[in-house]
Symmetry: C2
Subunit: 125 residues, 2 copies
DNA sequence: GCGCTGTATCGATAGCTGCCTATGAAGAGC
DNA sequence: GCTCTTCATAGGCAGCTATCGATACAGCGC
């Protein structure tokens, strides 16, 4: 579940809608405007040093889950700022969160990362 | 050559410096601040619908090269705006350009794309 | 030389984004 | 109930960015 949010609360992009359809590698065929806008949001989410480090921290953490308090303490930024960045990453579909008791844990969405990786892969041709 | 720019004119990132060193997959180990900043610039370059479509158009074009005039005519944007986006992509190391006579041709830098794809690939673990 | 065409740069402006402080909401423990 | 802790949201402000028109630069043809 997605914690305290009404489902559909945020403009979640990423895997919604397209299902398991294999992505056609960005450079294989011209992108239409709508697809470009959706994909750009995900790349934009990754286009910030803090968010990139957040993804890295979450992914590298044993167990695959990290408490927000651990993420906040890893940066010289205020807690609301970290919370904001986590929100952007979650809206992009790159991470997911779950509340357990007092704490909220974040983990990666591997499928979303793989999808973007596949987009950037250049066909042998 | 890089056309009309003095080499080092722009803050080119991407493959400069790191050589052929295999990138350690973002989620394998926590990213330090400097590396995050460099990678974020590349993702940020991809985090715009117009630039994403530009990359797609260049990559999907037969011959691997596209004249600026063709790119400009593919969008409902002014020529300076397209030129600006191409400059951002080139500064990120994602594309390269070459002038031949009156026209300037742009092509992808596959190694840069592959590098980012590798970063996003999640290890099996 | 002169003009014409294709690109890049300049300068300005509207909109977005990252950061903060202050505040609100949700649980746990009393 | 109240209080404390953890996290999210709201509001505001400074800096960046996407866009434009105007202009400069680079080749080609004359």
């Amino acid at each position: 579940m997605s914690v305290q949010h009404v489902p559909g609360d945020l403009p979640i992009v990423g895997l919604t809608g397209s299902g398991a359809c294999a992505q056609p590698a960005l450079v294989s065929e011209p992108l239409d405007g709508a697809a470009a806008a959706g994909l750009a949001q995900v790349f934009k989410a990754l286009g910030d040093p803090v968010r990139l480090r957040l993804v890295s921290l979450i992914g590298a953490h044993a167990g695959g889950e990290v408490c927000v308090c651990d993420l906040t303490s890893a940066f010289d930024l205020s807690q609301p700022t970290i919370s904001h960045h986590l929100k952007v990453l979650r809206a992009a579909g790159l991470i997911d969160s779950e509340r357990r008791g007092t704490w909220v844990y974040y983990r990666l969405v591997p499928a979303a990362l793989e999808r973007m990786a596949g987009l950037l892969s250049v066909p042998v041709a």
